[in-house]
Symmetry: none
Subunit: 185 residues, 4 copies
């Protein structure tokens, strides 16, 4: 049931935007009373958090599935970031929800383990990609955040400036990732 609710909520978010997700609307969709939502979620906020976590899970498994066979560290990193960007682009509304939910939380750790997993996996990929150079962990962390920032920046650009065609976008993404990877040396 928890899952059913989450999936229904997801559908609403995907189809009508996260601003349109109201508990009544959701209760209607799952064909249960609205009260039942409070049996499975403390709050609307709790539901949003779960939704966001689900998003990160999706993202993580997406990455796992597609990258587990890529052994070259740099290619692997590139693939991961590309998947991240594609996720943000395709799941526009869910991605926005993930961002917004992240913002409103005081501490990510307890509520957002999946996000940390995601960050970690990026971090590891970067670490492997510059194994020989023996970088400090601060350097690695910075690069990791930078990688994420680039994708997020491009994604949010996409939401505002609709005149950017898909080709331009993916080219910009490629360039940016290449440049980042270069900077690891």
């Amino acid at each position: 049931m928890h899952k059913d609710i989450l999936h229904a909520a997801l559908r609403i978010v995907r189809e009508e935007g996260h601003r349109s997700l109201s508990l009544r609307r959701l209760a209607n969709d799952i064909e249960f009373s609205a009260t039942v939502l409070y049996l499975y979620f403390k709050n609307k906020e709790a539901l949003l958090v779960d939704l966001a976590r689900f998003g990160y899970q999706q993202l993580n498994t997406n990455i796992d599935r597609n990258c587990h066979s890529i052994f070259d560290p740099k290619n692997r990193l590139k693939a991961m970031l590309t998947i991240y960007w594609r996720f943000a682009t395709r799941e526009k509304e869910l991605y926005l929800l993930m961002q917004e939910t992240g913002m409103h939380l005081n501490s990510l750790a307890p509520l957002f383990p999946e996000m940390l997993i995601f960050i970690n996996s990026i971090n590891q990929a970067i670490t492997k990609a510059c194994e020989k150079e023996k970088r400090t962990s601060v350097f690695l962390k910075h690069k990791c955040y930078m990688a994420i920032a680039i994708v997020q920046g491009l994604a949010s650009l996409n939401l505002i400036h609709k005149d950017l065609d898909a080709r331009s976008q993916s080219q910009m993404l490629d360039d940016a990732i290449d440049s980042l990877i270069d900077s690891l040396k």
Copy 2:
């Protein structure tokens, strides 16, 4: 009065976030009836747009004031982007409002001239920074958007991952800008 309203709205946004900006609340703050808002703004949306435009004006004059005396193109570009980032960081909530408002508009041109001015000024700076290389306008446009994306990405990172200290952030920004400028050659 138009300005008074805008300033009061701005204060609410800054202090309590743009989600807390309701017309009632605003009317209360300016100690007028709510009706008066409709004498100066067609809509709540119109007010938001004006607020966002105001934000871009601020940003533009900020840039003007601080960069007009920097003649070296690359330094100039760096300064501009740094100011942009600082703006996004310091005016967190206003910046978010600007982003959200931008997303909901169909065409930016008529309602957001100030945003276009901002983009243009970045574009020009980039153009000057690689004058000798005779880059295509597409190349320039991509780099321009990329520059904006980087700052936006770092800004949104900032909003989510509060464990990043100021030093780290500005160092990441510096690195990223340098790397971008490098890529212009």
Copy 3:
């Protein structure tokens, strides 16, 4: 509760006119919060439609009850129209609401079955009243609408020209109906 609301609404309409029927006012009367109205009606408009339908139901049962024992077709028709007129006169405000609601609808069929039932019953009475003459269905339809028009015309006259005494009115009604019935031959 649906019925309770409808009845309270009816009372307001009857006593203060359908222009005075606001959801807040209604909620006040039933001593419930305004929100509860939306549990039973999608809209204010939906409530109005239900109110109008209720009016037609009343009218239909009125007709049923009083005419089922009248077998002479012409007398029957006359009785029906007289009841219609009396309804319009006595339930002045409800009648007006029924008219206005009817005007604002695009297609009567789905939302106003009761109105169609009413029209149908008039039509049948007319059909029976000139069975022998084998009239075309167009002729019958015209006469049916004409019958309704006459009553409506007299009713609206009543609303404007208050100097008409009851006797005059019912005499005019009688004459008009007789004349209509005559024209069926």
Copy 4:
């Protein structure tokens, strides 16, 4: 100016319905401040009354212009009623306003001289049409009101049952008028 206001109001009523006529909207159209309306009209209601009176004036002059050369009393009466019906049909929204305004008034005489003129002219036509029969004034009055009722009834039918084509309507009107004229003998 009085006239200018009235004409602007008329335009709004005609184009957007009498429910859309608000003083602000009107002030906007005439490009004056809303306050100025109160210099020429005591109330919104006063303005509506004037509007309605204007409607009756239009109707009266319409009748004058087109019927002054018809000498046969019955033809004349028929022409008058036809014009009335056409007016109600073509000036749908103005006609509705005239009806509604009439309803809300306690006594028509002081505020609606034009309406009385209209009724009078119908009355006279009827009187002439049955001069020889020496009818009582009550009889004449009844027939007069009946004539008006018929047209009003058909007009309001028109507003609700949109499935009636123009031909059917004018045929029904003709029949009804003929029948009424017949009944004068």
